[in-house]
């Protein structure tokens, strides 16, 4: 079967046809600062507006957190955040690569619209970022940590944010400085206008170098005898290679023995614990500084990590290990506590709409995300029944409650996984005659989605300076 879909990323006029059962609240042309008439946010605008602490990390699997069921890692601080808030188990990166995913988190737009379809690209200047949007409404907006849009760390002057500087180049691990500077910010702040503080950590991204430098960092012989018998097992789909578009097959990592995969995973979980400690410093600072009661914490990752599933390392691809990311929202008294939401498909797109909703302002025009607020407050809400992610510029994934469909433009091989019965994505059903209608339905959804995209003008990638990183 060969799909015949419209080319990806071409400019389109915005269509009122929508992928939603209902329109996203606030999609439209309202100006920043305008209360969101008729929504819960209208009341927010008149009350004390909340602060936001957006915590972003890099390359964290949804299931690499103890509270999400991982027995190989200790994450007491993320566990505490989850216990005090709502965690989404069907949360997706818009494009599991650093820069594209981050562009969506900060704009509510798809990467094809922000223009950040690969690493080291800037956000299309016509698309406002979260800082620009909230600053116009009276928020103090502060950024600390990894940016990667396009520079790894932001300059002192950047659109929409004051910058607390921490690093100088991509791959430069500064997470303890990020948490320390954010603690200083929280301690020194004594009221006034509400704030949006972004704390952007690099870990557990260092794992990228355990594949890039695998000959040095992951030797054939286990480098620590004490770890014998203590390493996590390889995932059950480690050797699974379902039929895939050519671009996905090229990403298979063939260099490791089972023992090396296990040591690689052990190292990854230590990086997650390093991250957890810095998250803990932020949460403690929030409490001791007195801001906890009026600060909504949103935690997410730009993308996941292969972790040996399908013999993959790193990210990019539409498999669960790459595209699923944690999304945790916490603010006791405002947000449901101890709620694990496995029913709603959510996206990195949704942070912008959620922040705007709680801030009591309309989101920017054409945002594709939905406010999570009804879900966070356990209110009934119509919700999207599918979402789309982007990959390698020409690849798209359509996710519905049960199915995952993958299409790469120009590639005759598609993918269809039944996630209910095949959660490890080991059996590609795209050419199973019994699934023909499912494939057809997902193609239709993809076509519908693509027709809404307003593609950004093409921008040449900025040449990254050394050291190079992904």
């Amino acid at each position: 079967m060969t799909a015949s879909l419209p080319p990806l990323g071409r400019p389109h006029r915005f269509s009122r046809r929508t992928f939603l059962k209902v329109s996203a609240a606030g999609v439209g042309g309202l100006a920043a600062g305008q209360p969101l008439a008729g929504s819960a946010g209208a009341a927010e605008a008149g009350a004390k507006r909340p602060n936001f602490m957006v915590i972003i990390c890099d390359q964290l699997n949804l299931d690499a957190i103890a509270a999400h069921g991982c027995p190989h890692v200790k994450t007491p601080n993320l566990d505490r955040l989850i216990a005090r808030g709502t965690t989404f188990m069907e949360s997706h990166s818009t494009n599991p690569v650093c820069s594209p995913a981050r562009s969506s988190i900060f704009t509510g737009r798809m990467p094809v619209e922000t223009g950040v379809t690969s690493n080291n690209l800037p956000i299309n200047p016509g698309v406002p970022n979260m800082g620009e949007w909230l600053r116009r409404t009276g928020y103090q907006t502060v950024y600390c940590g990894k940016w990667h849009l396009p520079e790894g760390y932001p300059h002192l002057v950047m659109p929409g944010f004051e910058v607390m500087p921490v690093g100088q180049a991509q791959g430069d691990l500064c997470d303890p400085i990020v948490s320390r500077e954010c603690e200083a910010f929280l301690n020194s702040r004594a009221g006034g206008e509400p704030f949006l503080l972004v704390a952007s950590f690099l870990q557990p991204h260092d794992i990228c170098y355990w594949s890039i430098h695998h000959d040095r960092l992951v030797p054939a012989d286990l480098p620590f005898a004490e770890l014998t018998g203590r390493l996590p097992p390889v995932p059950p789909n480690n050797q699974s290679r379902p039929k895939a578009p050519a671009k996905l097959d090229r990403l298979v990592f063939r260099g490791f023995s089972e023992a090396q995969w296990r040591y690689y995973l052990w190292c990854y979980y230590r990086m997650v614990e390093i991250l957890d400690a810095d998250v803990g410093r932020l949460l403690a600072a929030l409490e001791t500084s007195g801001h906890a009661d009026n600060t909504i914490v949103l935690f997410t990752s730009d993308h996941g990590e292969g972790g040996g599933r399908h013999s993959h390392v790193q990210k990019w691809y539409p498999y669960e290990e790459s595209v699923k990311v944690p999304l945790i929202v916490s603010c006791p008294g405002r947000v449901a506590e101890g709620l694990r939401d496995a029913d709603h498909l959510v996206s990195g797109l949704d942070l912008m709409s959620t922040v705007c909703d709680y801030a009591g302002v309309a989101p920017p025009p054409n945002v594709r995300g939905l406010s999570l607020r009804p879900l966070l407050e356990k209110r009934a809400a119509a919700w999207r029944d599918y979402l789309v992610t982007e990959h390698h510029q020409v690849g798209r994934m359509v996710r519905t409650a049960r199915w995952k469909y993958v299409h790469y433009e120009g590639d005759p091989v598609e993918q269809l996984f039944d996630l209910k019965n095949d959660p490890w994505e080991m059996k590609n059903l795209y050419d199973d005659p019994q699934c023909a209608d499912v494939v057809k339905d997902h193609r239709r959804r993809l076509e519908e989605w693509q027709s809404q995209m307003i593609a950004a003008p093409a921008v040449a990638p900025k040449a990254p300076g050394p050291p190079k990183k992904n």
């Binding site: 520079e151 100088q168 691990l173 500064c174 702040r189 430098h213 400690a277």
Partner: protein
């Protein structure tokens, strides 16, 4: 006993820093790890061939109940800015240089030297009644801690005096970056290695310890025969000893 000098490129963890070590110069002079000393390190990112991203200076002054470590850490930042940490750590006279307490101040500075006030943080801490109590102004944060416990910088000191040879690993709680409490650490002697450091004639006998534990990638400490700590390498991050310039 090691038999033949090996290149850093062939030794786990030194291999990450092999390119930077090509120009490494061995320190000269007598060293007493129990006395007063003053070490300087390049803070390195070991991605690719490696690059220097900051500096670290650690000074030890013996005291009646142990020692005081003075730490000055500088990280290079975008636009000519720096991030500076100055810490004074009071340590016990034991195998871990266990922490008694510390004071720390940190801040980012613009290229002009101007402090970015929102980043400035001053804290003190003490270990008492089974807890780490961190104080910043009128704010106090208390975290339960299992002893013995020591800071990551105190290990730069302690490891220089540890016995070398087979034996049970030392077990402790790490105060990583001073206040990240990470229990379940172990520190073990890894062995002696005759290493061919390019800038040194012949081979150099190095001793290694490794640290494993919760919330930390393996850390390898490399010392010369006198006990002087030369390199600390953890994954793609490293501290490499350097001759301190006169200030």
């Amino acid at each position: 006993m090691p038999e033949k000098a090996r290149s850093p490129a062939d030794i786990f963890s030194l291999n990450e820093a092999a390119t930077l070590l090509k120009t490494f110069r061995l320190p000269q002079g007598v060293f007493d790890p129990k006395g007063a000393w003053d070490h300087a390190y390049r803070v390195c990112s070991l991605i690719g061939d490696g690059s220097v991203v900051g500096s670290l200076r650690v000074r030890r002054a013996p005291a009646a109940d142990g020692a005081t470590l003075s730490v000055d850490y500088r990280k290079n930042v975008t636009d000519g800015c720096t991030y500076d940490v100055a810490a004074t750590i009071r340590c016990r006279d034991d195998a871990f240089a266990s922490a008694i307490g510390w004071e720390v101040s940190s801040q980012a500075r613009k290229a002009t030297g101007e402090v970015l006030e929102s980043t400035a943080l001053t804290q003190s801490a003490a270990l008492k009644d089974g807890a780490l109590v961190v104080t910043a102004g009128r704010r106090e944060r208390r975290t339960p801690v299992a002893t013995p416990c020591t800071t990551h910088w105190s290990l730069f000191d302690a490891v220089q005096r540890l016995p070398r040879g087979p034996g049970e690993p030392l077990k402790f709680t790490l105060l990583d970056d001073l206040d990240h409490v990470k229990p379940g650490q172990s520190l073990a002697y890894r062995g002696a290695f005759d290493v061919a450091l390019a800038a040194a004639a012949g081979s150099t006998r190095l001793h290694a310890f490794h640290q494993l534990g919760e919330g930390s990638l393996p850390v390898l400490y490399w010392l010369d025969d006198s006990g002087r700590l030369l390199f600390v390498i953890s994954g793609i991050h490293g501290y490499l000893w350097e001759e301190r310039r006169a200030s």
